[in-house]
Amino acid sequence: MISDPLTVITIVPLAVSLALLILPKISGSAEGLARASRAISMGVSLAMLAITTMIFFGEIGNVDWTDYNSGYSLTNDAFSLIPSIGVQWKVGADALSFPMIWLTTLLIPISMLVEWDAKKGHLFHPLILMMEGALIGVFVSLDMFVFYAFWELTLVPMFFLIMVWGGEDRKYASMKFFIYTFTASVIMLVGILVMYFYTPDVASSGTITGHTFDMSVMIASSDYIPSEGLRHLVWLLLLIGFATKMPSVPVHTWLPDAHVQAPTAGSMLLAGVMLKMGAYGFLRIAVSAFPESTVAFIPLLIFLGMASLVYGAWVCMGQTNLKRMVAYSSVSHMGLIFLGIATMQPLGIAGALFMMFAHGIISPLLFAVAGAFKHHYHTLEIGSMRGIAHHSPWLAAHMMLGWMASLGLPLLAGFVAEVTILIAFWMSFGWLVLLPTLTLIITAVYYLTSMQKTIFESNDPHHGILPDTLHGEDPRDISWHENSGMIILGALTILFGILPFIFWDMMSEWSSGFLIDTLVEAMQSEGVKP
């Protein structure tokens, strides 16, 4: 039906958003314009969701995602953007990237919906649309240069979202966000360039430099990098870039600030998709290109993952700010992804992939809830208010569902990911599994105490305690658009908890295929039992 759907879902949102951002300068009244531009943005993002959903059901492209050996699907005829240095427009998707692409197209309309009545709507919704194009670009591009360009481009709309629509400390937060992630990606760029300079001349013709940015060539030619030490160094450079984005302890400190200050939609996309870019890039580039280094650095991965997991959860217990708590719980869950990869088991890697996806549904729900709480109660303090189940039953229900999913209640999406990672971890490292398992108890502790403090406990059975910030007014329940967005996310959380195989099959096929293809040989040479 559409010959090149991946290019379409990347370029169309970008083009439309640029048009919507520039046109208002030329004509139109602000009010009508805001309405028109958010309607157009929503329409475009829904169309993109329709396309990716049709891809999933095989209506477009007829792809069998569970077939690892077929490589990238939906590829286009690569054409040169900068022939002289070997940059191409080349897209494709596989079971690693497709769930992320679908997740992106899903979260964009939902985050627009949740902030349907945002201020300066003629800029807000187009920026989110721009975010969509940039994020999809990261996941689909098979050219390292284009990948990096999109990687940087995601910073722009997110930066403005925090800067313009953020909370009181938005300036500090957006600066910190920008400096951390930009510095990290420049470090990553150095690694990419080293890889670039070692691509063989034969691989590309017609370039002045004799090298190519083609991702598969770059990954395949990583063996040409002389000396194991240099390969390790490049791997570490890439890791710094990806780990900062994930984020992992000790480079996670930008995340809580950015989340607390970001508008709801910004937080949802940040937690839902942007953090996954780190894990995606790590698997796609660092692990694929340098399997030996990955295997050699398994202890480092375990340390980083464990530190993020334990530290994130531990800090959560001390948080009184709702968004900050959810942000640290993201750090904690991202730690599980490193642990899953470090197991070097198909089950563990598939669990990590599913964690990326599940967390991509649950954390937006959590942030939507936190945003709505802020919106209607004008505070984010846990404990400044008790018994919201009485005042805002819908909000309380969503909050409860999100928190339960996040702490890993069975039959919800998060459980599948956590339990598979832990099983794989046990298979690889034995009793070391006790530490992450005990951390899950900490997670339960902080969620359950917060739940008790905010949703239920009430000194007065009729009213509960209202925060000072309401100035004595009665809080309202969440509005229709917030509610509908949360209902969709909540329903998906339950759906993927009960029927995880919708995406699980392709993920586990990809993981075992990937493991056999790239990692087994490295593990044997490093003496790690497969």
Partner: protein
Amino acid sequence: MMPELIMLLGLIAIVVVPNLGDAKFRLPLTSVRVPVLLGGSRFDLTNDPRMPNRISNLTFSLALLSSLLLISESPSEVGGILVVDSFSRLFSTMFLAALLLVSIATTHRLPAKTNAHIPKESDSENVFDRKISILIDNRRQVDFYILLIMVGLGMTMMTMATNLFMLIVCIELASLSTYVLVAFHKEDGTGGEAGAKYFIVGSVASAIGIYGMSLLYLWSGSLDLEILRQSWLSMEGIDPFAAFGIGMMLVAFGFKVSAAPFHLAAPDAYSGAASQVSGLLATASKAMGFLALFRVLVMITVPDGSEAIWMIALGIFAIVTMTWGNLAALTSENPKRMLAYSSVAHAGYMLAAIAVVGSGISSVDQNAIILTAVSFHLFVLVLFKLGAFLVLALLETEGKGHEIEHLYGLGRRDPLIAGSMFLFVLSLAGVPPLSGFLSKLLMINGIVSTSASTGSSSSVDIVSWAESVDPLFWLAAAIVLNSALSLFYYLRIGLVMFFEEPSTEKSLKAAPSLRMAIFACALLTVLCGIGPVSEWLLDTVSSAIDSLMYE
């Protein structure tokens, strides 16, 4: 020679046209009055103070156009000391493009007062003084553009010179004009000081260079580049005359490209001059120095791919230059000085690439690629370095631009201009996919592809690999580290533009032609980084370098 002729005509037109008037010459003993047109009371059209600017714009556009059309013309020689080939044509095109941008951008710079505002006799007492000052202001227009066209003539001629003497003369023609242009900004005391400093240091550097040239003459008996090259080839060992001659010419050209430690006058000159002129110095004037380096260093002294005597020196200069430039830029509070130091740093990057040409371990093809990269970098520098200076020029129309505070909140006052400025600094920093990244990548690639293969591939740990690799590799590492360092001050400009409170909410002056120049620069900064335009430009540069290398 078409562009040069056009510029000559333009020069004459600028001198003549404002003097056209209704003067008549009465034939003796008759009452017949023959109009001679020169003198008398001027026509309204010719007396328009904006006239010189228009003539200069027209001249440069025509010259640029003809230069572009002639870019693939077959080589021809003029008088034995000039050669017109695609290499010289290409660089002429670049110089003319820079000058055209400067010329367009200066429309609003000098106070051009139209005649309509000349007060009537009855208006006030000091009518006469005001009339004089208006007249002087308007005369200055003519002076400014005459100098600009002189710069153009000197620069385009120097691209063709195959004789060292001609080369120096043309460089001096351009340089002397730029000294005056720097000092031209008389409303401000710093202009004169900057011009004087620049002139003194510049003439000392030129004197040293000319002395070096005379030593070369003493040594070979000719100043023709081809003969010098032959003598260098047939030289046994190193003749001290030749070595000192080359070394001294390095000083002169080092000043032109503002390489450390000869760069000390540059920041003063850049910050004292009008921003358009600073932009010209940082781009076209620097390119002129590099062109001279190509001619003298690469063409005379690297004929057969053996290690050149200046290689080590140039490598060390390059690292010192880029590090010094970046460190100084980090601490600058004046955006013009910051851009000046960043221009010093960029000179360092390019010198590093040229040092590799002299290493002797690179093949001729690799040399061609490196020179292509450097030339391409010089080309795109015109877009984003000049563009950044033009943004400061727009701020100067309201008397600002000398302190970082003046950039505060520019994003709120004028988002498009601030966005362009951000684009320029990102390109200066070398962020993909802008043209600054492409050119820097090509330069680094040139260095790495020459040197990295020398590292032993059998060594396992990184230390022994690092010991085995050719020291040239560290030039590439230095460029990368310096680029990372430079990000801090480039991003700072972006940050203050978007996140500091502006001192005033007033929007900037309209200045349509200046804005047009800025937007043209911004658009081309993107287009030259990605897509067909960049490809065309790179191909053209590459074939021009081939014509230089393999003639």
